[in-house]
């Protein structure tokens, strides 16, 4: 009996689960530690079924102790394990901050390469979901500022799977930002090949264009694509770059794009001051100033927390309109 494989489209969350499942299958030393990840299968269900499949000794329900989750992961890695550590919300990663920046991030450095830390700290991030102050954060800049950590943020199901698999095979610690608003979003479901790997540190062009470059990652990539549509109606061709990895950063793709467009808007959800958008603009100014025809722009969250009530939430966050306006400023300069 022969069966014709029917292409199955998968959502972002399923893609993540498949990545962990496949990697646990091929790496018996891979452990998962997190709050409610075993019996419950995770607050969002990313690890659903994995404890039943691999056992409670490999998918461990941890006490509400982010510091101990990270510290235990470090010890397990010191003794030969690979660890996926889930933060129930990426907002709570601050409770494990010291263990991440002082113990985990520095381990390889302070042992002069003796010890590697194959640990992925992942969790749901991002706003636009009414999550308010403590379920909306994008705090990636904290970790981009801690040498020794890789920082990744996928925006599509295929990238979610491919980047997570690559992260789980990386000898370095990776902070992995998942966009919870995308977890079950129907419109972005896509077919994903088995064993799909996306290397860390490679950006991708989501929409080619020639007049202005919109650079983003995570959820705001979709705002940029919508902005590109709106700009196209006004005869402006915008190129959209999805960075996917912040550390390591694919500067080349950005500079190549600037070589065509000579204008750039960087968009992200985090607050403006000392955020990643500022870092990228600094690098562009230092290394690609000669390519610019207009002052580079950034569209970020205001320097505020993320408020709860919808009008306030949208007010402080990047929007398609804000991105279009910033792009217009570069075009009309």
């Amino acid at each position: 009996m022969s069966a014709v494989a029917v292409p199955v489209k998968k959502n972002y969350l399923t893609a993540l689960r498949e990545a962990i499942d496949e990697e646990m299958g091929r790496n018996n030393d891979l452990l998962c530690l997190g709050e409610d990840i075993g019996i419950l299968g995770g607050a969002f269900g990313v690890t659903e079924g994995l404890q039943a499949k691999y056992g409670a000794h490999r998918v461990m329900d941890m006490p509400i102790s982010e510091g101990a989750i990270i510290g235990t992961s470090v010890g397990a890695a010191l003794n030969g394990k690979t660890v996926m550590a889930e933060m129930q919300f990426i907002d709570f990663i601050s409770c494990g901050f010291d263990q991440i920046v002082n113990t985990l991030a520095t381990y390889h450095y302070r042992t002069a390469g003796e010890v590697s830390m194959p640990i992925v700290v992942r969790g749901p991030a991002g706003a636009y979901s009414g999550g308010a102050l403590y379920h909306s954060q994008m705090n990636e800049a904290w970790f981009c500022n801690a040498p020794g950590l890789k920082v990744v943020c996928p925006s599509t199901p295929a990238d979610a799977k491919g980047l997570l698999k690559a992260a789980l095979r990386d000898p370095n610690p990776v902070i992995f930002y998942e966009i919870k608003e995308l977890y079950r979003k129907k419109q972005i479901e896509e077919e994903i090949p088995e064993n799909h790997i996306v290397p860390l540190g490679k950006a991708v062009i989501r929409r080619p264009g020639k007049d202005v470059t919109l650079v983003s990652y995570g959820q705001t990539v979709y705002h940029c694509v919508a902005a590109a549509d709106a700009l196209a109606e006004q005869g402006i061709s915008a190129e959209v770059i999805d960075l996917r990895s912040l550390v390591p950063l694919d500067e080349e793709t950005v500079f190549l794009s600037l070589g065509k467009t000579n204008r750039v808007v960087v968009v992200n959800e985090a607050p403006m001051t000392c955020g990643f958008a500022g870092e990228l603009l600094a690098r562009i100014s230092e290394k690609a100033f000669h390519l610019l025809d207009a002052p580079p722009q950034r569209v970020t969250r205001l320097d505020t927390p993320v408020p709860w009530a919808k009008p306030m939430e949208l007010y402080v966050l990047p929007s398609v309109e804000k991105i279009v306006a910033a792009a217009m400023r570069t075009v009309r300069f």
């Binding site: 990270i70 235990t72 002082n102 003796e114």
Partner: protein, 384 residues
């Protein structure tokens, strides 16, 4: 808190005397051989001389940097480490510098295969040389070794207890029966991560033995301002785990309590806390020596230094009959400040071992400047 002795029961009924004598006979240290006891005594000297010599080297201008003295606390390190197996892990902090070279030292100080560091490596670290286990990338006690099962320490107090838990969790999954002994000060028990780590280890009955060196002072703050209970070991109750209290001046009492805790851990019964009562003889670091004589009263300091662990051990060895005649009074290092003790106060082999290590360190190279930019991330093929 002090070890029981048979003679202390003289006024009790003969039944009680028999019972106590029986308990005493069952204490782990009673199974040590004479050679073991003499090696323990020798290790106390080595730990003390390390401190004495570094102070001298600094005064002589051959050494820079802050020294965190373990003077008066050596019995905790020697007593806790002596009974461990080579396969066990340890996790020392800043005041435990001798722990790095005392681990598995009974396998032979100069034995290159022992599961501890050589004194040469530790001195190379003190002198900030490229031959240090961490290639001089972080200072003082911030070294370790995966191969020799020593967790790399940081300045984050209690921050390595969860790492210790993770190490033994992995060991168990691999079918091992290693225990991890972590060393911490009483001040570190006020850290949130202390609670998180011990709580997690207790839930999963992980073989982590947490030694609290209660030296009464966390830098400039007395224990009464750090811990609300009479004993730091009382914290164990909240986790449903044993909390032992040892006389930190008595190497054999430390050995007994730690061996009980280790046996408990290795049997699968879970973690425990071993509080070792002691006194920080000098400043937090040598930069603090003068101030530590002001924020602490002369009476407190005199009382705290009164029971030198070398003297306490010497008395016991005389009781055991291990030291007799001239050997009972030779090498009188006890009671002398590190700045005043002389080489003649120590056994010659101890001085010689340290001499060799210092020569090794002095002649080693400093790291190339460019190494400062290396190993932030894994370098393919670039491992040392």
């Amino acid at each position: 808190m002090a070890s029981r002795t048979v003679s202390a029961t003289a006024e009790k009924s003969s039944d009680q005397t028999d019972q106590r004598a029986g308990e005493e006979a069952n204490l782990p240290h009673r199974s040590l051989t004479q050679a073991d006891r003499l090696e323990i005594f020798r290790q106390l000297y080595l730990a003390r001389y390390f401190d004495v010599r570094l102070i001298k080297e600094k005064k002589r201008g051959r050494l820079t940097g802050t020294l965190y003295s373990s003077h008066n606390q050596e019995a905790i390190l020697v007593g806790a480490l002596f009974g461990l197996r080579p396969s066990d892990w340890i996790s020392p902090v800043h005041r435990d510098m001798p722990a790095f070279f005392l681990k598995d030292a009974k396998a032979g100080w100069r034995n290159p295969d022992r599961m501890g560091m050589s004194l040469e490596e530790v001195c190379a670290q003190v002198w900030c040389k490229v031959t240090s286990p961490g290639r001089a990338r972080d200072n003082w006690s911030h070294i370790g070794s995966r191969e020799r099962r020593i967790v790399h320490s940081t300045s984050m107090l209690a921050g390595t207890i969860p790492v210790a838990a993770g190490v033994v969790l992995a060991d168990r999954l691999n079918g091992g029966d290693a225990v991890c002994v972590t060393f911490n000060g009483e001040g570190s028990t006020a850290q949130g991560i202390f609670h998180e780590a011990i709580n997690f280890a207790a839930v999963h009955k992980l073989p982590v033995v947490t030694i609290i060196e209660n030296n009464q002072w966390a830098y400039g703050t007395p224990v009464s301002m750090e811990v609300p209970t009479p004993d730091v070991a009382d914290r164990a109750r909240g986790y449903g785990i044993p909390g032992y209290v040892a006389d930190g001046q008595d190497v054999f009492d430390v050995y007994d309590k730690v061996m009980q805790a280790v046996a408990h851990a290795r049997s699968g019964a879970g973690p425990s806390i071993v509080e070792c009562k002691t006194f920080r003889a000098y400043g937090h670091g040598d930069h603090d020596d003068d101030r530590a004589n002001k924020y602490r009263s002369p009476e407190e300091i005199e009382h705290g230094r009164a029971r030198d662990p070398i003297a306490v051990c010497r008395r016991k060895l005389i009781e055991f009959g291990d030291l007799t005649g001239d050997t009972a009074t030779s090498y009188p290092a006890e009671g002398k400040p590190s700045s005043q003790a002389m080489n003649d106060d120590f056994p010659p082999d101890v001085v010689e071992y340290m001499d060799e290590a210092i020569q090794f360190a002095l002649h080693a190279a400093v790291p190339d400047a460019e190494e400062g930019g290396r190993w932030v991330f894994h370098e393919p093929g670039g491992h040392r």
